[in-house]
């Protein structure tokens, strides 16, 4: 069964990321973006009969969808947490479409975001319940630096196998910063050069400070409607044309090859469902927790040969006015990564561009977008093709 044109994203809302969480609550952010997204779609709360929530990282509690439903006073007949890490947003899109296609519901509100900042993010978690995962017994005693050290290990191995260079990785951050400069909502907008990136402090070799996302506050929501409703929508429907998902274990030592990600499975599924190829894509909107993430994703999605990602990003202009527009909102590296809502930004930006609402950074003739959500240390992948 295909999800092709089973549903479309219409309304959306996104809070401009801010460095401090002060005075904000996660629920408050969710309610705000939800309201705006429903309004943007030209709908009423009573129209929302499906609710998907990607939970906040810093505040894990049970039954988030129920709490939010109560807060919004909506009564969804389809409510779920979607937790695929950073792949949650893309995962919500196709899950919403599948629920709509199967008749479970007609209109799904998808929400994420959190009140977080550097202080909250790194606060001691000693009082939280700990689970006896193998990760805790066989990795934690050796001092990993969260996801940072895992992505650094991927980058180090990628450099060894393929000769990828620091300058090539840095180019991703630089082009995305150029995009962010054209996005008034982006957290970091000052110009950035390859030398700036390489002279920023090494945090986990070979990754420098400017190749690593920082925690911040923000949130986003979008509305997925049935094909029938999309026709009479207040906004240009951004159709879901293809979707594919793939996962692997979270511990890198358990992975056959850490330089190839499950995008190698999820992206072909999405392209096949959509009946298009990477060469047809006008906008690439892919998860960028680190520079290496983008390089591996481009290779595994088939935009270039495996191992050629480094030269590929160097040879192409990844800015909104370039030959290969990528993460035109600035990506999480420059726009910001408000928890799992960081992954929302790749979906919202793709929809915005497809709808012609890109403003200064609008990509010309943008009709087909590839979106990729990534969770863990490239362990969860959800790929989408969206189009108008």
């Amino acid at each position: 069964m295909s999800l092709k044109r089973a549903a479309a994203i219409t309304g959306l809302a996104e809070m401009a990321p801010r460095a401090s969480a002060e005075g904000l609550s996660t629920m408050g952010i969710w309610a705000d973006v939800s309201r705006q997204a429903i309004l943007d779609a030209g709908l009423e709360p009573s129209d929302i009969d499906g609710l998907l929530v990607a939970p906040p990282i810093v505040d894990m509690v049970a039954m988030w969808p129920s709490h939010l439903g109560e807060y919004l006073d909506i009564h969804p007949r389809y409510a779920n947490i979607v937790d695929l890490g950073g792949a949650s947003a893309a995962g919500m899109v196709w899950r919403a479409a599948a629920a709509i296609q199967s008749g479970l519901c007609r209109t799904v509100l998808c929400v994420s975001g959190e009140a977080s900042d550097v202080e909250t993010f790194y606060a001691p978690r000693s009082k939280r319940p700990t689970q006896q995962l193998p990760q805790r017994e066989f990795v934690a005693p050796y001092g990993p630096m969260g996801a940072n050290s895992g992505y650094a290990q991927i980058a180090m191995r990628h450099m060894h196998e393929f000769g990828t260079t620091g300058r090539q990785l840095a180019k991703v951050a630089v082009d995305q910063r150029t995009n962010a400069a054209a996005n008034p909502d982006a957290l970091y907008r000052d110009p950035l050069s390859v030398d700036d990136v390489l002279s920023s402090p090494l945090i986990v070799d070979p990754l420098h400070l400017y190749e690593i996302v920082r925690p911040c506050t923000g949130g986003a929501a979008f509305v997925v409607v049935s094909a029938d409703a999309a026709g009479s929508s207040a906004q240009t429907p951004a159709w879901l044309l293809g979707a594919g998902e793939a996962t692997r274990g979270v511990m890198l030592a358990q992975v056959a090859s850490i330089t190839t990600s499950p995008v190698a499975q999820s992206a072909p599924l999405a392209f096949e469902m959509a009946g298009v190829t990477p060469a047809d894509i006008d906008l690439i909107s892919v998860y960028d927790c680190y520079t290496i993430t983008v390089v591996v994703t481009l290779e595994d999605a088939g935009f270039c040969e495996k191992g050629r990602g480094g030269p590929f990003v160097e040879e192409h202009d990844l800015t909104y006015r370039g030959d290969l527009p990528l993460n035109t909102h600035g990506g999480q590296l420059s726009f910001g990564q408000p928890g799992l809502a960081g992954g929302m930004s790749h979906v919202t930006e793709a929809v915005r561009q497809l709808q012609g609402r890109g403003g200064e950074r609008q990509v010309a003739d943008c009709e087909l977008a590839f979106v990729n959500g990534n969770g863990g240390i490239m362990s969860e992948q959800s790929s989408l093709v969206l189009g108008v």
Partner: protein, 136 residues
């Protein structure tokens, strides 16, 4: 000393206890599947490859190569922050499995991917030995 931040230490389960006992005795032991000859790490109740429950704890060489690594220059955990920079690596054992570990006994900058290494057993005050590696 009690004010010093403490590193997270493994809490062995009944399943993993033989692994930790081996390290404390200065020996690397892995589960080996009697049915398909695969080495299994981390410890599991059955062989994930052939589903056999016939796993035998077997002493292995302790030799391997650095599959990948990073130099941690800023740690998230306060106890590890006292030790930066240090090498957080994945070592591929001669017998096949890979383990997450530290490479010690050389300057962090001297570590290379594919560098041959051998196991060392780092006894902690808690009586648990950690599996680390040094240049072979």
């Amino acid at each position: 000393m009690s004010d010093q931040p403490r590193k997270p230490l493994p809490k062995p389960s009944s399943l993993s206890q033989p692994f930790w006992d081996g390290l404390a005795a200065g020996e690397l032991r892995l589960q080996r599947c009697d049915s398909c000859d695969t080495y299994v790490f981390y410890p599991r109740p059955y062989c994930p490859r052939c589903l056999s429950e016939a796993l035998t704890w077997t002493a292995v060489s302790g030799r391997g190569r650095v599959y990948t690594y990073t130099i941690v220059r800023r740690a998230m955990h306060p106890a590890f922050q006292l030790e930066v920079p240090y090498v957080f690596a994945i070592v591929e054992l001669e017998e096949g499995p890979r383990v997450e570990t530290n490479v010690v006994g050389c300057a962090p900058e001297d570590v290379r991917v594919e560098m041959p290494v051998k196991a060392v057993y780092d006894m902690t005050t808690a009586g648990i030995a950690l599996l680390k590696f040094e240049p072979a």
